[in-house]
Symmetry: C2
Subunit: 372 residues, 2 copies
DNA sequence: ACCGATGTCGCAATCGCTTGCATAAAAAAG
DNA sequence: CTTTTTTATGCAAGCGATTGCGACATCGGT
């Protein structure tokens, strides 16, 4: 097969530069990479010609040759969710700074799709950063990535037993703080509305909730614990079930932003006033919380930090392949943001200070509002 | 250079399969691709062996050979913004269905970074889908992509003169509808708070705003038109300038979600009641709008559709390279969602119907609430 | 039994770039 | 003025997969 007719090719290769200068392609390659063997004048000539011809190295060829792609694969349950958006942002930022690019794919909380995405990524990225889907029950696909020698980092939701880095929130501590906040405000019958029972995050949050109850000598009532999903509809369903109870809760711990939103909307619909009739805290920090009426007490999970540390760990493992075989589990702290939804009506204004703080995140007009 | 020692390689290639079966790599390749020349038994043997060895084709090598990567490059101003999140979602969905993957990079509304991202993408994707940054004043970098023969599709913000597909909102119509809504509700002194003047979207929205004023015989006051940026801080600045006017506006048209949010927060701070003292409409549909108090009248820009059609156009251009040189500009309609913020206090409840509709977007628990 | 048709498969080149090794020229050393 | 060293460059293989073309074998036809 003859070499592609150069006159019909649109892209410029090192061979074009070489021909123009009557030197060899190897010299061109070395010159462009500043190899010390090449005479300075030659280097200059090559670089000039490269610029003149508008040469851009073929990344694919480099990848094949060097057996690395400078690509990070990310699998995220949903792109549009606030937390995952900020995680992506954090990943992108670090990747950009380190010269990597980000291949984003979503599982849509589906195990099957996660499988496909995993395989699709496996052969074109240098490392994978993933968050388990809600319904992932087997992790052979991730095992296989590891067997292929691919660095793998999990964030937010990670499998129990798999040798990989993890970046997780301190779910238990956060959950404890939120629950404690409700208790201190005088709520005693607090329901726990959460996602799939088998997920570690749910277990951990449940545990924090339970510990807070124990700590304050409140009884634990299994009826008040509902495991559905993290979605908006799940929240509606859970809320409805709670409202059907003979002995209704006087407050709700919502394990996700969407669940909390559902509670707000549904409570409004049946004329339950928050926080007067029903206290509410949310494990999440969708900006919407700050602006709702009443504003919702929540936990700010540092998604951006989660993404950036995950990316750092991943790139680190990629670049020092072989060394340091120990896998870390980073626990990110969360910040509780106390607003009106968890404060019993009486002392409302006295407890919540009235100022708001504006926090500029990265200088690109991407501000997040924290209200205390 | 000797072929890499197969015993040290972790990945399986067609050569491994070939050796095991004592046939040639070409035959393996053909068998895997169901080439008719290969005997059925051979095909079967090859496929069995491939499965047994857990063979996965090297995507990079294929890309080099076939001169295509099955990668779509996306440049987005901000990943975390609601609109762009849904656009990404739409792109990812279509890409996945058509066997492409998505390389996401963000410009952070910075021209320089957009430049870098453009070059970084140019050599490893089959097509680019981009949204101009707020500060992009030159488009030579995109021109160059075109010169390299790369399909290019713009969404939301597109350069004026460049032969490429565009997927845009019908900004003028949407703007007109929003303004009209304020006017009909009795507001007469409506300010226009928007992004950079040079952006076409801003021009178009301004035009819709002006046409609505004309249509209802309201005077146009240049003082009420403020061009800053689309961000939250920009909104604050603009709002402050408006409030310093001798003759304050009685309503505000906010050209972005963030601007609207800023107006809500700042108005609250100076005890201006919306909509009693100040009407407000927003060009955007951040879910936050529905839940704010008062709920904000806004425009639902169909981000998901924007993303999916952009991806479709892009893939189409990739796959029928050469044919059909005409470039389309798709104008997506927007849906106005009337809520309380644009309704003068008096007739509030009579005008806004009290039900809400839940719209399940894609079956993955990603619901968006529309409130009318 | 000879010949062309048909069916299967291998050789080798190629995508664009990198790099170990050889080589030639120039410089330094003897 | 040789010999050794240094400096600068070229050759060619190889990353893994694809594919035009040729090779060989089998088979039917006459």
């Amino acid at each position: 097969m003859p070499r592609l007719d150069p006159s019909r090719r649109t892209t410029v290769t090192i061979y074009d530069i070489a021909k123009k200068l009557s030197i060899s392609a190897s010299t061109v390659s070395r010159a462009l990479r500043n190899h010390p063997d090449i005479r300075p004048e030659t280097v200059e000539a090559v670089k000039d010609m490269a610029k003149k011809l508008n040469y851009q190295p073929n990344t694919i060829a480099q990848s094949l040759r060097e057996r690395r792609t400078k690509l990070l694969g990310v699998i995220v349950p949903e792109i549009q969710q606030h937390l995952y958006g900020s995680v992506l942002n954090g990943i992108e930022e670090v990747a950009f700074r380190k010269g990597y690019q980000v291949l984003v794919s979503k599982s849509g909380e589906s195990y099957e799709r996660e499988l496909m995405q995993t395989y699709a990524l496996s052969n074109q990225v240098d490392g994978v950063i993933a968050c388990l889907s809600q319904h992932t029950h087997k992790i052979d696909h991730f095992r296989q990535l590891k067997n292929q020698g691919l660095p793998l980092v999990f964030f937010d939701r990670a499998p129990e037993r798999l040798a990989a880095h993890r970046v997780l929130f301190d779910n238990e501590a956060g959950s404890f703080a939120l629950t404690e906040n409700l208790i201190r405000s005088g709520f005693t019958r607090i329901a726990y509305l959460s996602g799939p029972e088998q997920l570690a995050v749910c277990q951990e949050r449940l545990s924090g909730y339970q510990k807070a109850l124990e700590r304050y000598n409140l009884p634990f009532d299994q009826d008040l614990v509902i495991h559905t999903g993290f979605g908006y509809q799940d929240g509606r369903i859970g809320f409805t079930r709670l409202m059907k109870l003979e002995n209704r809760p006087d407050a709700i711990f919502a394990a996700s932003d969407q669940i909390a939103t559902a509670v707000v909307v549904e409570a409004r619909r049946i004329d339950l006033e928050i926080p007067h009739h029903l206290g509410l805290v949310a494990f999440g920090s969708d900006p919407v919380h700050a602006l709702l009426h009443p504003a919702i007490t929540g936990l700010h999970p540092k998604g951006y930090e989660m993404g950036s540390t995950a990316a750092q760990l991943c790139i680190q493992e990629i670049e020092q392949a072989g060394k340091n075989k120990r896998f870390r589990t980073e626990r990110l702290t969360t910040e509780i943001i106390i607003r009106h939804s968890s404060i019993k009506a009486s002392g409302e204004d006295s407890v919540v200070s009235a100022y708001s703080r504006f926090h500029k995140r990265d200088g690109f007009g991407d501000e997040v509002i924290y209200m205390y």
